[in-house]
Symmetry: C2
Subunit: 233 residues, 2 copies
DNA sequence: CAGTGGTCTAGACCACACA
DNA sequence: GTGTGGTCTAGACCACTGC
């Protein structure tokens, strides 16, 4: 016996992954059915199923009824990045987090935002600008619009001590979100906030959240020099 | 009864998510145990377990033995980005993919790579530079080092038609990978390749893969103007 | 239609963490 | 100890899909 007596689905998963990487089951190959594997490993089909289901979720294999399970030809690897709230992200590095509210205004949604996110004309938005610091070095510049119709309480909220990020997380649910990352040049005012040279490349994250189809908030977050999204898999 | 007769774990998951977002189970709250929920929904505990386990994987709740299941205070949302091979990424947009090998050389690993990745001194690497185009517009500039000791066949591989990306995926397994994204300025030669202005911000992805602790390949991929990592959740 | 994966069940035992 | 979630089992039925 090369396998333990009680193969857990984790052990099975590791073994299947080993066979795939060792080309025992090469790319494109049809792997044995669940019943066959259950017999080979002396466990229940459900256990095999769990291991294979997770591998499928991770993009390593393709499973189709009747057709069976195949090793993917080009494994679409998925990178999972955790998107915590800023405070947690800063504090995770051991740095001291500091927040500052820079600007606050109520007004109509700018045209580009209305166009982008299909807002009614004249929708009133709370517009906030804030800075987040790590050990007093600029970490993130946040420019946010909050849809007052979707979040009436926001009109009276005080964002001088707690950032809108944390406030929204606690106060407002959402059903859909979209986030995107891109590289952009810091225009002069932003460069000052972030203490970088004008036109220096910075990472921009834009996130939009909706509650049942209604826009809740849209935020543009520019990160300071050296910011990286990193993950292992 | 507001619930269907046969609640699948998906229905349960959606219902639990609804309760969390509707603040029926507010952030930090302890939610009922699996047995209690199974009784409420008239299903097996395993079905409840599957729904809750998936919500925990997605970062919505925290589960601990004995302590029970709680709604996370600050949901660490995870964004999953798919990292396909370049060809698939280009073709997914409907564009025609074109590949070109720009440079090829064998030599010792550069010092910064050895320092970064703990390589033996004098390790011989195959150094490749390639371009990937989408409808003849520059899509990605790829600079790659491949550890010849880890992949001896690479010395005789012909990369004029098939890019090293696809070749490696088919030919060489790996056990660990790390990928990171950052914003950087295009230095002049790179800017020419990508048809952008010198010092224009571009997205850089760096990926390293290992096989059982031995470095397989390290690649720096610079993307053309407008590249975005996007996902919904 | 038949064979594969997808899901559910009822019951069981285990592992962990807290009292 | 005791109660929670974590995992496994044996069996069952269903859904999809390729023949």
């Amino acid at each position: 016996m090369t396998e333990p007596d009680r193969p857990s689905y984790r052990v099975l998963k590791a073994e299947f992954l080993r066979r795939i990487r060792a080309r025992v089951w090469p790319p494109g190959a049809l792997i044995p059915g669940e019943l066959e594997l259950a017999a080979e490993f002396g466990c229940a089909r459900a256990t095999i199923n769990r291991a294979l289901t997770e591998l499928a979720e991770e993009g390593v294999i393709d499973r189709r009824r009747r057709a069976g399970t195949r090793v993917k030809l080009s494994p679409v690897r998925q990178a999972r990045f955790e998107i915590p709230i800023v405070r947690a992200e800063v504090e995770a590095t051991g740095a001291v987090y500091r927040y500052a509210l820079v600007g606050r205004a109520v007004g109509a949604a700018p045209d580009w935002l209305r166009a982008l996110r299909d807002l009614p004309e004249g929708a009133r938005m709370l517009h906030l600008i804030c800075m987040h610091y790590a050990d007093d070095r600029p970490f993130q510049h946040e420019e946010r619009w909050i849809n007052i119709a979707a979040v009436p309480e926001v009109a009276t909220a005080d964002f001088s001590a707690v950032g809108p990020n944390e406030w929204l997380v606690q106060a407002v649910p959402f059903t859909d979100a979209e986030i995107s990352f891109s590289a952009t040049a810091a225009e002069p005012r932003l460069a000052e906030f972030l203490a970088v040279a004008p036109d220096e490349p910075v990472m921009l994250a834009e996130r939009t959240t909706w509650l049942e189809g209604q826009l809740v908030t849209h935020v543009r977050m520019h990160f300071g020099r050296g910011y990286r999204l990193t993950t292992r898999y």
